[in-house]
Amino acid sequence: MNKVLNTILLPLMIFSFQSFLNAQKSNETVWFNGLARSYFSRDVLESTSDTLYPRNTSNGYNLVDLNIHVNPIKTIEIFAQLRVRNKFGSFFGSGTNIDVRQLRASGTIKNKFNFSVGDIFLKQNRFTLYNYNEELSSFENDMFKPYRDIIHYENFYTDNRWRLQGLQTDFSLQFDRFIRTLEFDFFITRPRGSSQLGSNTYSPDLLLFGGSFVSKITKKLSFEVNYIKFFELPSSGNMNISINNPVYHSGLNYKYIKNNFMLSHKLQTGFSQRNWLFSELDNGSDSSSFSTRGMFFEFENEFLVKDSSFKLVLGARYVDPNFRSAGSQTRRIDFNTEIQNTVYPLHTNDYVPRPSSAFDLLSDENRFNQDLFGTLMSFNPIFSNILPFGDGTPNRMGFYLSSTLNKNQILFSKIKTAFFNEVIGQGTTEKRNFLLLAGDLKININEIFKKPKEFSLSFSYWYELTKRDGDVFEELNLNSSHINGFLNLEISKKFYFQLGLKQINASGKEFITQRNEYGVIQNFSFVNYDQSDFIYFAGINYKIKKNIYANIQYNWWGEDLNNPTNPTFYDFNYRRLLFIFSVKL
């Protein structure tokens, strides 16, 4: 395979270089950027009772992503990202992979229409197409930035967009009466192609298309409509079963300035449909099943001080139990039990699959998902139970409030609270109540004492409470708290000493919902949590330049599971030495 790739890519590189030379002659532009990274980790098993696994393992790689930008004319760009990746321990090409990671052509036609073809990054609205941040990543204050950067880069998570392959175009119009502007955006993509599943079974193509229309009616008032459709094309496979999930959204935004405040009020609503089409190819009659319809409504108010030193958001939201939007409810992390962790996937001498801990969610790039799903994915309630599927989490209604404060670059504070109820109960007429209380405080101590070298302390606390009344079987009460602490001290110029901790404590009862392939709840499995996840780290970060850094850190991580039958048997403790050298070219 490598030989084939080399055969293809070597001429391509020569061609690129030749193009570059030709470009110099014909005023075409070819330019390069990219990323280079060296990564090395050494994981150590701390438990002495696990005797069936190696005491330590090491892993690492070097990679270079070369981005080639070709501008044959000023308004057109051809972009290709080539990756050369070499695992540690490989020699003379064996273990070296060369991949084409991204390809895209984009440009502007007649200075009016923008277009992109190939790998495109799409985001629309929080209820239609939106790639929500993974759990545990809020309020970290860049504590685990080297890990997060890698996860996001490797999984193409950019600006809450989904990476898709297809065509996108947008254009806008301006008017001098009645309305001020009209903006249009359309896309069509294929998240998954038809593939062979069995000797005579082929899955259909999965398509996603949509459009947005935004109009600035007056200086203060704007109106938007979004539409997205996630569906399978039955004729492109022979499984005879295809999903269809359109989502409609509209919003009205009123913004104005009063005294020292910028205020905005946003009203948005919409609805979704979802069904599966069962095509009988022989007799031509189709039938649709598992049809659901659901709507949502949100009213949000934002108060922003003009200098951005303070912001307050207050809102109310209702999301129907049957609101389904594949583009916005797909999660980055799937807690499907079949997915194993990369580091020490089994533990104990009984070869028990190791549950995913906070450290796995931070560091294991293979745990993350890049595909859109038409049904709700599994989640772990101790990490996120209030809104596991983002703002469009079905079966929620309630209020939320958040604020940010920046006091003279000395003190940064964030507060987030929410109170939600279920709209209908799960497995009972009793409904869950959810409470979120979260706060984050960062103090730049060097700013207090007017010192040039950075010295900051930050601390955050995230608390989720889930309660439900009812009889002895129905009642539940789950407490989950996430604590982050971080010290960042510049001991020499651009040379930082860092200490950090993250701890997740969970206790109480909850039921995990089990759904079938059509998203219908089949069962509730009872779980009684009493556990604590922890990650501690100490390290040094050398920021050579803005885009170049070297980071070395030592992590202590694990999980204490107070299993009632054997309080310590299922606990696990590991350590890791990590080195990252990253250069953005």
Partner: protein, 353 residues
């Protein structure tokens, strides 16, 4: 502001006039899943005197307050045949849970009284009833290839290894699986693997299912008296378009062999170790068959049950003497791999119907 007055009614329209499909609760009741178990509708049998030979079925009905693993066990009081039907639900629906007189464990049910018992995993409750079979299932719900009741099928070719010591390639009536006859297939060939084979000509234009849903079912009898190590049956299926028996040249033993099972044709195989005592009915998906000769030049291997033109049942055993002494313990033992009731079924195996 006038524009706002125009747009807000639009939102109100969307909010109030959009029909949603939410119910009162989502999912099964937790009190049912985790509460105390109780029967809400009694265990009921519809048709307690079935005549399975004329297509009768027995229907079962029962409901309980929680979703659980349940099992219906029907035991023939004379034959000791057992049929088990199981599921995970809170309802045994008589439209779905039925019995057509087949068995999960040989021998087959006869005309006899049966005990019926409904049990639940992790629950002590047991519900009992009885029924009386007045006509047993003939197991002919499929494409019957051979039941040997009237001798060998038309165009069948029987052959055995030249100079075989003892051989039993013949119709017999002493111990049939079903009906009154079966095909004895065995013998003693100490020096080589092949014992003999039965070639049957087929024509299956009416099959509508793909290979994944097409089953080959066969009854096989062996005994533990002379059981060989390395004793098995090979089932070979051909989709060759050659004539079944055009070449009339006999083999060394003087018998005719079908011409459609050569390694150069589109032929598939399945190897079945035979190491038990008594009759068993085995079922295989056609899609699980392997290509006989994957590298055959010019052959496109694309299983299609419609195109099957023949089936070969071959008996083999590990040699105990001669040039290849692989199993000396088999010396002078008589191989027994008798067969009966070869039948193709669509969508499910014979005993799963």
């Amino acid at each position: 502001m006038r524009t706002i007055k125009d747009i807000i009614p639009f939102f109100i329209f969307l909010f109030f006039f959009n029909e949603c499909t939410k119910g009162d609760i989502e999912g099964p009741l937790i009190s049912d899943l985790y509460g105390a178990f109780s029967i809400t509708d009694d265990f009921l049998l519809v048709n307690k005197t079935p005549d399975f030979s004329s297509g009768d079925i027995v229907k079962f009905n029962c409901s309980f307050n929680k979703t659980t693993d349940w099992k219906i066990t029907i035991t023939g009081l004379q034959s000791s045949s057992v049929k088990e039907i199981s599921g995970f639900s809170n309802l045994i629906d008589s439209n779905i849970v039925t019995w057509n007189g087949n068995t999960s464990q040989l021998p087959f049910f006869q005309k006899e009284n049966c005990a019926v018992e409904l049990t639940f995993l992790n629950e002590s409750d047991k519900l009992r009833d009885t029924l009386n079979i007045i006509g047993s299932n003939a197991y002919e719900d499929g494409i019957l290839v051979a039941n040997f009741e009237n001798g060998l099928p038309q165009d069948a070719l029987v052959s055995w290894t030249s100079n075989i010591g003892l051989r039993t390639f013949e119709i017999a009536n002493d111990d049939p699986l079903l009906g009154n006859a079966y095909f004895k297939m065995g013998g003693k060939v100490n020096w080589d693997w092949p014992i003999g084979k039965l070639d049957l000509k087929l024509n299956l234009p009416s099959i509508t299912v793909p290979a994944e849903e097409f089953y080959i079912n066969i009854g096989i009898l062996s005994d533990s008296i002379d059981i060989h190590t390395g004793q098995f049956i090979n089932i070979i299926i051909s989709e060759s378009t050659l004539p079944f028996n055009d070449d009339l040249t006999p083999n060394q033993a003087g018998q005719q062999l079908a011409d459609i099972f050569d390694a150069s044709d589109e032929v598939y195989k399945m190897k079945i170790p035979v190491d038990w005592h008594g009759w068993r009915i085995l079922s295989f998906k056609y899609s699980d068959f392997e290509e006989l000769s994957p590298g055959a030049s010019g052959v496109i291997f694309n299983k299609n049950p419609n195109n099957i033109t023949g089936i070969r049942i071959a008996s083999q055993a590990c040699p105990s003497a001669g040039a290849n002494v692989n199993c000396p313990e088999n010396l002078n033992k008589l191989v027994r791999t008798d067969i009966d009731h070869i039948i193709f079924t669509e969508n499910s195996p014979l005993l799963g119907n």
